[in-house]
């Protein structure tokens, strides 16, 4: 089945190397975070209602609501800082890979995969909550505001975000006239935003490995309006929609503004989180390609080989 993250069938290496770690970290996250809250709610509701099945279902709904409220802070203060710390560890291992034996390198790849999967699973956990805020906002908007001429999504756009930030950086690279400075800026762009991939699959090259694509993008980004400039119009649209909402409120202004602020903060995570999820992919891919070279395999054949077979080859 095609999805945003699985446009093509996944490679054997991804299936046998990272997927097991995804399962491990998803299970750990469920047992350590979701289950305790869900169980507490369900037991409490069962004691009150004596209906076990309804209590479990309601318990899940309440758990989701609690998570919607607290997950953003958890993500921003605990998960992303730890993930970025882990990125440093992965970069260290990447910088040392030239001195490692095949056996040692394979162990380091596994450690990096473990860190990568931990980050992806925990960061992705915030996705349903951030979407949830938008869905709830759209559903209850007609009960908060009288006029139907305002689109609720217009109140959720035009904020600082990673998408505009990265495209703005690319625009600056493209429009830099000093070639030496442009090269240094391009390097920085690659470091910050180059690890994006087409699919959740280590077999797929990251953006920074697609030099021809990057060059074409730079050419296309010359002499066009900057993303930040264009976003100013979107910000104006949001302000107009907000002002129109404020004069058509069905509830007190301060309640509406508090709720709106909560929604606006959370919906930013929908796309911003994705810029963190795959930050390690480039470095891990290079380590795997190095292993491919040490093992004298045909170019890139390692990605279509089960990890167990690679480990056996390493030990031989």
């Amino acid at each position: 089945m095609i999805s945003e993250w699985y446009r093509e069938p996944i490679s054997t290496l991804e299936k046998t190397l990272r997927v097991p770690y995804f399962i491990k970290h998803s299970t750990l996250l469920f047992l350590s975070r979701l289950l305790p809250i869900w169980a507490t709610w369900s037991i409490g509701l069962t004691l009150l209602s004596k209906n076990f099945l309804v209590s479990i279902l309601l318990g899940f709904v309440f758990t989701f609501i609690v998570e919607m409220i607290i997950v953003r802070k958890w993500l921003l203060t605990k998960i992303i800082p730890r993930h970025m710390q882990n990125l440093k560890e992965v970069k260290d291992k990447y910088s040392q890979m030239g001195n490692l034996s095949a056996e040692r390198l394979s162990l380091e790849v596994e450690k990096c995969i473990d860190l990568s999967a931990w980050g992806i699973v925990n960061i992705a956990y915030a996705a349903p909550q951030s979407w949830g805020w938008e869905i709830i906002f759209k559903l209850i908007f007609p009960f908060l505001v009288k006029t139907a001429s305002i689109k609720p999504t217009d109140l959720l756009i035009g904020f600082k975000n990673k998408t505009v930030e990265s495209d703005q950086f690319l625009w600056k690279v493209a429009n830099e006239n000093n070639s030496k400075r442009q090269q240094s800026m391009l390097q920085k762009y690659m470091e910050l935003y180059g690890s994006r991939t087409d699919d959740v699959d280590l077999a797929k090259p990251t953006l920074r490995e697609k030099t021809a694509t990057i060059q074409s993008l730079i050419n296309l980004y010359k002499s066009i309006v900057s993303p930040q400039e264009r976003q100013k119009n979107i910000k104006k649209l949001r302000e107009k929609a907000t002002n129109l909402s404020l004069v058509n409120l069905r509830i007190p202004k301060r309640y509406f503004l508090s709720f709106l602020s909560l929604v606006q903060k959370n919906v930013q995570l929908r796309e911003d989180r994705r810029f963190y999820e795959f930050v390690m992919d480039y470095y891990i891919r290079q380590m795997i390609l190095r292993l491919n070279k040490i093992l004298n395999l045909d170019n890139g054949i390692i990605f279509s080989t089960p990890w167990d077979e690679i480990k056996k080859a390493v030990h031989h």
Binding site: W131, I157, T163, T206, I234, R270, E271, R274
Partner: protein, 113 residues
């Protein structure tokens, strides 16, 4: 004469706005060379690697995705019309074909050359 229905692709409204332009069916960002600023990007679905390309498009059409998909969210952020979840736009729309996008209604009209 063919009926009008045959020339319309229905999808979900991803981002509001109407635009007419040349469609470029691009299945991988590696095909960027055939894309020009202001073209309409027609693809299966998008992820963050596509955002630099989305910014250059005058509209976006995807095969899969809903109002909370990457393409829809990014297009709303840039004010670019988008029709998402059409199911088969990459197969129905020919590369280079003129199309009209209505992001509000979620429809793509295939225009005669």
């Amino acid at each position: 004469m063919k009926s009008k229905r045959q020339f319309i692709i229905k999808g979900k409204p991803g981002s509001g706005g109407r635009v007419t332009g040349t469609a470029r069916v691009i299945l991988s960002v590696d095909e960027i060379d055939k894309f020009k600023t202001g073209n309409i990007l027609v693809t299966k679905t998008t992820s963050p690697i596509w955002t630099p390309l989305i910014y250059l498009a005058s509209a976006v059409v995807t095969d899969i995705g809903g109002t909370l998909s990457h393409a829809a969210i990014v297009c709303r952020e840039y004010g670019i019309p988008a029709v998402v979840g059409t199911g088969n736009a990459t197969k129905t729309i020919k590369d280079g074909q003129r199309v009209e996008i209505d992001g509000e209604k979620g429809i793509v009209v295939l225009l005669a050359p």
